[in-house]
């Protein structure tokens, strides 16, 4: 009855998270890799202030319990004091002053994070279930689930969602912004250390939320100039497979039969398929035109049996260029 809830043992292990540079055994925060050091300053100041008040409270409680423990059943309290106005004023006013300082400090920091500097380089990040696509300034190319940034160069992002809420979160950069469908959000930061970092989706977005992950490579200006995101394999099938692993793998299998979520790609090309188009059932042959339509406008023809399954998001030119689409078709043709 519950077997379908459990993982199958042969499911491939897919731990693809990079080793983040920011592993530090003792810090409460990951080591900072951007210019937003005010986050760390306010965090540690507030944390130590909280530790102070916690120790104060615990010490008074502990001492009271030791000193004033009831030993006879009829023992009265050592004091019946019900209030002490000076004390109450002190413990109201001092915390009030402290939290106002913290508030103002944190607010000033958040203003720094709100507006990108003039010389920032622009990027566009497109979030979809469950992938990140990055586009670069003055560059027709794009990269999937990998992002290259130049060290010490402010990077400003326009965030766009294709389907549901997501959030753009790079812990080492101390930045986070929800990606909201229907509006363009902005976020910026300046990476200050070379290395690889996590980019997580921080807003729950469905089945593979935890696999919606990108590697952030912070590189030198020289390495950045070589445009590492544009590398392409001479074999179109290999390029198609890369796109598959970045965008399609969450739902579509490439070996074995159809799953409950989506049709398998194995032996798909050239096969006869029963589909529902506009409420009418018809039989088509899987060819280039059908595959292109199924990626650009997946709801046009739905394979019979998947009418009530979750809908696939459409992929536009920005995420999957016509060239990449051709690679995917070559890859599907090779799956026999």
């Amino acid at each position: 009855m519950f077997a379908h809830l459990f993982q199958t043992p042969q499911e491939p292990q897919k731990s693809f998270y990079v080793a983040d540079q920011g592993v530090d055994a003792w810090g409460q925060l990951t080591p900072l890799a951007s210019t937003f050091d005010h986050v760390d300053h306010v965090f540690y100041f507030t944390m130590w202030m909280c530790v102070f008040f916690f120790v104060l409270i615990a010490a008074v409680l502990g001492w009271s319990v030791l000193k004033y423990r009831r030993v006879r059943f009829d023992q009265p309290a050592a004091s019946n004091v019900t209030h002490n106005t000076p004390l109450e004023v002190v413990w109201t006013v001092i915390p009030l002053i402290l939290v106002m300082i913290i508030f103002a400090w944190g607010w000033k920091g958040s203003l720094d994070m709100a507006v990108a500097p003039q010389d920032a380089r622009n990027y566009k990040a497109t979030a979809a279930q469950w992938s990140w696509t990055f586009r670069y300034h003055n560059d027709p190319g794009s990269s999937l689930n990998e992002l290259w940034l130049e060290v010490d160069k402010p990077a400003a992002f326009t965030l766009e969602s294709k389907d549901v809420l997501h959030a753009f979160f790079i812990p080492s950069m101390r930045c986070k912004r929800d990606v909201v469908p229907g509006r363009n959000q902005r976020i910026w930061f300046t990476p200050t250390r070379l290395g690889d970092y996590h980019l997580f989706c921080a807003e729950y977005c469905g089945k593979d939320h935890s696999l919606m992950y990108a590697k952030v490579h912070v590189v030198t200006a020289e390495q950045y100039g070589k445009r590492p995101w544009d590398t392409e394999d001479p074999d179109p099938k290999v390029n198609g497979q890369r796109t598959y692993e970045a965008l399609c793998k969450s739902c579509h299998a490439v070996a074995g039969p159809n799953t409950a979520i989506a049709p398998s790609w194995f032996g798909l090309y050239g096969k006869s398929e029963a589909v529902i188009e506009g409420g009418q059932e018809k039989t088509i042959t899987v060819d280039d035109a059908y595959l292109i339509e199924s990626i650009r406008n997946p709801s046009a023809k739905i394979v019979k049996g998947y009418e009530s399954a979750g809908r696939m998001s459409p992929f536009d030119q920005g995420q999957v260029s016509d060239r990449k689409l051709g690679f995917i078709i070559e890859y599907i043709k090779s799956l026999k």
Binding site: H4, F6, Q7, S15, Y17, G27, L29, T30, V42, F43, T46, M47, C50, F53, F54, I57, A58, V60, L61, S64, V65, Y68, R70, Q75, P76, A77, A78, S79, N80, T82, H83, E88, T92, P95, L96, V99, F103, G106, W107, G109, S110, M113, A114, V164, A167, F169, P171, K176, R177, G182, R183, A202, E203, Y204, G206, K207, D208, H209, S210, G310
Partner: protein
């Protein structure tokens, strides 16, 4: 010397002995159709305890799954459903109704010197609405489950192919249960106080329940409207929250948190009330700063309506909104700090009885200090941008909801258990269980603070390997916590069958709930009690009542 209730002689046993609310009638219908607030409270207690156990089992499954970075047990879909069930059961079926509807129902009329709540039939209706909501939640599991998270954020909740409408209906109905209970308690507090029991002589538990009730009546309708709109949007595609139809998903967040932030105080204010009672009775000392505690409950109730945007600092709301919401959030910290300091000052120079309700209370004071102080860290704008939606937030609200509210619920349960049933549980086991729960709880959630501030996002079925040690420590802690809770339920149930007789006034309380026979008779007091003197005046305590077993 003034006496509070000269009419109620608890020592002679003249009025006690033969019948009380548990045994005055019997048979299924005498319970299912009862209008007695104590029986309704008891049925609620059974219901919310079952919901707590179910939610707890879901929590243990979540923790077991997170033992390994690839997920140890479930598929990602199943994991998403399980964490959603954990949140939805714990929030809607346990934490919100737990204290007001079970212990509040039981104790509020006793503390006021009333025969019952003002509207007993409405009280029974509230219970059956709760049962209907719980049944719909169970049905939603059987109908395929739901994987939206307990927050039901649009547009995912509009698109997902799961039982969102039936759980939405369940939450809608549970909302009415909550509203009716709140309304009932407001009327009861206004109209049914005993002669002489003026507002500033009411026990602080009554103040807390009163402030909670105001929040329940004012905030819960917004939740009902929001889930109704989600259901309409899913069914008729009217375009309120769905961006594909011109709707705005951020509007959903505003609606949702407009209820769900005050809901945090619907959950925590009754816990404050229990702690105020326990601190005073078990220190045998008047509460320090009674009026400040009472007013701070009301202040929290009011300010809590104005801070919902602090759940949305990364959502893209305007800079000015961020300013206002962060600023106001810090104003919740002040009345909360006043309460904590006042409780600590009450313990100071008391006559401290280290019995199990007091141990749970002391555990609360430690854990709530951590939960409250980490809330200050999360209220800071730039820091919250980093910590939002990470395990740091998860740990923070578990320190408040599980650590503080549930521990206060346990403290109240142990405090009023002898009153409710006339029997005592095994005190040694109770102290042991409290220690196990305290250790297990901290072992579960301290690692979550660390991995959260290092960037571990919440609601992840799989995670990066560097977080594994923290997840494993947390899982071990959760198992310890689970053992402690199981032990607690075990000895409490055992006491009903083999418990020693409790004393008439087990702990030496001086509020009206301890002035009736134990367990109380059908209409609580044989004669209307008349209150004279101040509240929490332990010079009036008749120590014989703490040494006289129930007959």
């Amino acid at each position: 010397m003034t006496t509070h209730t000269p009419h109620v002689d608890v020592h002679s046993g003249a009025h006690t002995g033969t019948t009380n609310y548990l045994n005055n009638t019997s048979g299924f219908m005498s319970w299912a159709g009862t209008l007695d607030h104590k029986r309704i409270g008891l049925m609620y207690l059974i219901g919310v305890s079952m919901a707590f156990l179910a939610g707890g089992i879901f929590a243990l499954l979540v923790r077991l799954h997170l033992w390994s970075p690839d997920g140890a047990l479930f598929t990602n879909e199943a994991y998403n459903q399980i964490f959603t069930l954990h949140g939805a059961f714990m929030v809607f079926l346990f934490v919100i109704p737990a204290i007001p509807a079970s212990l509040g129902n039981m104790v509020l009329p006793l503390m006021l010197g009333a025969k019952d709540v003002a509207l007993p039939r409405l009280n029974l209706l509230s219970f059956y609405l709760w049962v209907t909501g719980a049944a719909l939640a169970m049905y939603s599991i059987l109908a395929g489950g739901f994987d939206t998270g307990w927050t039901f954020y649009a547009p995912y909740s509009l698109y997902t192919n799961q039982a969102v409408i039936s759980i939405g209906l369940g939450i809608f109905i549970l909302g009415f249960s909550s509203i009716f209970t709140g309304l009932n308690f407001i009327v009861t507090t206004h109209k049914l106080r005993a002669p002489g029991l003026t507002w500033f002589r009411m026990p602080l538990f009554v103040w807390a329940i009163y402030a909670t009730s105001i929040l329940q009546v004012l905030a819960t309708p917004v939740l009902g409207i929001t889930v109704a709109l989600v259901a309409l949007e899913r069914t008729y595609h009217i375009g309120i929250f769905d961006p594909r139809l011109g709707g705005d998903p951020v509007l959903f967040e505003h609606f949702f948190w407009f209820y769900s932030h005050p809901a945090v105080y619907i959950m925590v204010l009754p816990a404050f009330g229990i702690i105020s009672e326990c601190v005073s009775v078990h220190s045998r000392k008047p509460l320090f700063g009674y009026k400040m505690i009472a007013f701070s409950s009301l202040a929290i109730a009011i300010i809590s309506f104005l801070v919902w945007g602090h759940h949305m600092f990364t959502s893209g709301q305007s800079t000015y909104a961020m300013f206002a919401f962060s600023f106001l959030t810090f104003f919740v910290a002040i009345p909360t700090a006043i309460k904590e300091f006042s409780w600590v000052a009450t313990v100071w120079k008391g006559s401290i009885d280290l019995n199990s309700p007091m141990l749970y209370t002391l555990a609360f004071l430690i854990i709530f200090a951590i939960g409250g102080l980490t809330g200050v860290i999360l209220g800071v704008l730039n820091v919250d941008i980093h910590l939002h939606d990470t395990y740091y937030v998860v740990a923070h609200f578990h320190y408040v909801m599980m650590g503080s509210i549930s521990l206060a619920f346990f403290a109240g349960l142990h405090h009023w258990w002898p009153k409710m049933f006339g029997v005592m549980y095994n005190e040694s086991l109770a102290k042991l269980a409290c220690a196990i729960i305290f250790i297990g709880f901290n072992a579960t959630f301290i690692p979550q603070f660390i991995m959260g501030s290092r960037g571990m996002p919440r609601r992840y079925a799989e995670y990066a390997a560097e977080y594994q040690p923290f997840h494993q420590a947390s899982t071990i802690g959760a198992m310890i916590l689970g053992c402690g809770v199981a032990l607690m339920f075990g000895y409490l149930l055992a006491s009903l069958f083999a418990g020693k007789k409790a004393m008439q006034n087990q702990w030496g309380g001086v509020t009206l709930d301890w002035m009736t026979p134990t367990p109380p008779p059908l209409e609580n007091f044989h004669q209307t009690p008349v209150w004279r003197g101040e509240v929490y005046d332990y010079s009036t305590l008749d120590l014989r009542s703490t040494q006289t077993p129930v007959s």
